[in-house]
């Protein structure tokens, strides 16, 4: 029992990081219909940014956080401007290869800038761990889960309350109609890229103290983010979030109770099951559309 609670704690922690990655991917997909295979690299850049700014340059944590997220968003914006927008009319498969090329490029750049050795980042909070029903809860985990919820909540409010957010939803529903009613869909696409890569960087910052950060950490995280987004339903915000948490919990339980070698396989087995049984995802209100 005690063990299971412990697994749940760590599962929810990693799950909320997957959730943030999935939210970014899913948002980008709904407003630009692009699946960004380099999303994981933006997560990696976020983790590496916090390594440099907070650990090495010892800037205050909030400042380092803001600078990292802003910096990665700018990279995301440049990527949209120079690679994606130039190739807008291409087939989806060419766009996928362009994003894969970008991910190799970012990984190569990170390898030169930060080297091949992994870095460790100390815990964000110095408090002692709390004991609940015999299982230790690290304050760090609480911090990550709360931050993930705040992030998703902020995006939710942005979509529901602000004019720009509503314009973005309109673009997701029907781009042409949105354009006809005077919404600059091109600029909305850029904004979607900025938010998506920014949340990716935030996820990278959250994960940095839990695992070792290295230049090649991004690919697997990005792929797990896809799985989470698919499980919840591509294009839905809270669906992607719930998919992330579910994935994290199942992964942690599977690794703990069955075998740790199986950990990475769980995400993909879930993905296949979801695709076969209900391709629209578990929490999506939309009717299944198999294209």
């Amino acid at each position: 029992m005690q063990e299971i609670i412990q697994y749940l704690f760590s599962g929810v922690t990693t799950g909320s990081i997957y959730a943030v990655i999935a939210v970014g991917l899913s948002m980008l997909y709904s407003s630009t219909e692009l699946i960004n295979f380099s999303h994981g690299e933006f997560v990696m850049l976020g983790a590496m940014g916090i390594v440099t700014l907070w650990v090495h340059l010892s800037l205050p944590l909030p400042l380092a956080f803001i600078l990292t997220v802003a910096g990665v968003s700018v990279i995301g914006m440049l990527f949209e401007r120079f690679a994606i927008r130039t190739a807008k009319k291409h087939q989806p498969i060419t766009l996928v290869i362009i994003t894969v090329g970008a991910s190799i490029l970012f990984r190569g750049l990170a390898m030169i800038l930060w080297g091949k050795d992994p870095f460790s980042v100390p815990s964000f909070s110095k408090h002692e761990s709390i004991e609940i029903a015999g299982a230790a809860l690290v304050p760090q985990s609480l911090f990550i889960v709360v931050a993930a919820f705040i992030l998703a909540g902020a995006i939710h409010l942005f979509f529901k309350q602000t004019l720009t957010g509503k314009a973005m939803v309109a673009c997701a529903v029907n781009k042409k109609a949105a354009w006809l009613s005077g919404i600059p869909s091109e600029r909305i696409g850029v904004l979607a890229f900025i938010i998506s890569t920014g949340t990716g960087a935030a996820a990278g910052i959250f994960i940095a103290p839990i695992t070792m950060s290295s230049y090649d950490m991004g690919t697997m995280l990005g792929l797990k983010g896809f799985c989470a987004a698919m499980i919840g339903g591509l294009g839905s915000l809270w669906g992607a979030f719930a998919g992330g948490i579910l994935l994290g919990v199942l992964e942690s339980l599977g690794a703990g109770l069955i075998s740790s070698g199986l950990k990475d396989a769980i995400a993909f087995i879930l993905l296949l099951l979801i695709l076969y049984i209900c391709p629209a995802g578990l929490f999506s209100a939309k009717v299944a559309k198999r294209f």
């Binding site: 090329g101 190569g108 695709l275």
Partner: protein, 328 residues
């Protein structure tokens, strides 16, 4: 008739080039690279049938490559079975798995199909890595025997080069026969519009499944040739990046073109070799080339270069016309 004649000439040129290369190139390094090009061409040919002609994306095709390699490695090394029987098992196994996996997966399309095949590829790769009592785990599988047929021992060198390219040649002929048959026309109709082709009576799902199984078989043969050539395999050779590389070969060479597959395979095999001299900048340059080619030549290099050629001819044509006007 003219079409048949053209194909005959193309095949003759292809054979001539292969034979000349095999005889006159003595440098083992070059022969080795060209053997790898042949193996990659097989992979690209199979995926091209699926992607280029039937229009179905697969982001997990390295799984079949790996299944071919591991089946022959396990059967011929651990159990001491003749590699040629292992080849049959490898192809049979890959085709069977393609059938089982393809049955539900190929009902999906677009990004969903891409994600489904990706998931399958990742699971197979994790099995290679974690089932270490059989596959040797992440440290790899060593001691795969060399191929022999009668008195010929296929060592790395010109004999293996000829073996691989002979297989490639047969594969090209089979692909072309399929494409010019009723099945090939039906495949192309799926690519242009699945509903329309269903409406005229094509059993699209079964056809997609057949072509998926065919490309899995080619992948398994490539894996077999790879395993007995390098004599050491590890899960990294069949991971997600390899699947992506296969897709890139098809797209960069130009989809729906048999010669495009050879071009794509050659480029993606040669490029890393050339970029080795840049050492740590290798990844950056590789990523940039990939992006730039795809941004400016989305139809692939074969089509892209032809377009540039035609464009420049038009331009010079215009200039000549201007000159003529000027003279008047």
């Amino acid at each position: 008739m003219a079409e048949q004649k053209r194909i005959f000439i193309e095949h003759s040129i292809f054979m001539l080039v292969v034979i000349l290369c095999g005889i006159f190139i003595e440098n083992t390094y070059y022969l080795q690279i060209m053997t790898f090009i042949g193996i990659n061409t097989l992979l690209a040919l199979g995926l091209n049938m699926l992607m280029g002609y039937a229009g179905q994306v697969s982001l997990g095709h390295a799984a079949f490559y790996g299944i071919g390699a591991y089946t022959t490695a396990i059967l011929s090394t651990t159990f001491g079975i003749s590699p040629w029987i292992a080849l049959l098992c490898a192809v049979g196994g890959a085709v069977f798995i393609a059938f089982v996996v393809g049955l539900p997966t190929l009902k999906l399309s677009g990004y969903y199909l891409g994600m489904g095949t990706l998931g399958f590829g990742m699971i197979v790769n994790i099995v290679f890595r974690e089932w270490s009592s059989v596959t040797g785990g992440s440290s790899g599988f060593v001691g795969i025997p060399m191929l022999e047929a009668g008195s010929i021992l296929f060592e790395s060198g010109s004999s293996y080069f000829f073996l691989v390219w002979a297989v490639v040649f047969i594969a090209i002929i089979i692909c072309r026969r399929i494409l010019s048959s009723r099945m090939g026309r039906a495949l192309r109709s799926i690519h242009d519009g699945e509903n329309a082709s269903m409406a005229v009576g094509v059993n699209t799902h079964f056809l997609k499944l057949q072509i998926f199984m065919f490309s899995a078989a080619l992948g398994a043969i490539a894996g077999f040739l790879y395993a007995h050539f390098v004599m050491f395999i590890s899960p990294e050779s069949f991971g997600f990046m390899v699947s992506v590389k296969m897709v890139t070969m098809v797209v960069i060479g130009g989809m729906a073109s048999v010669w495009g597959a050879i071009l794509g395979a050659s480029l993606l095999t040669l490029l890393p070799e050339v970029l080795h001299s840049f050492q740590e900048y290798e990844m950056i340059i590789f990523g940039l080339i990939l992006m730039v080619v795809m941004i400016f030549m989305p139809q692939g290099l074969t089509r892209g270069l032809l377009d540039i050629y035609e464009h420049s001819r038009k331009k010079t044509g215009k200039i000549e016309q201007l000159n003529l006007n000027f003279k008047d």
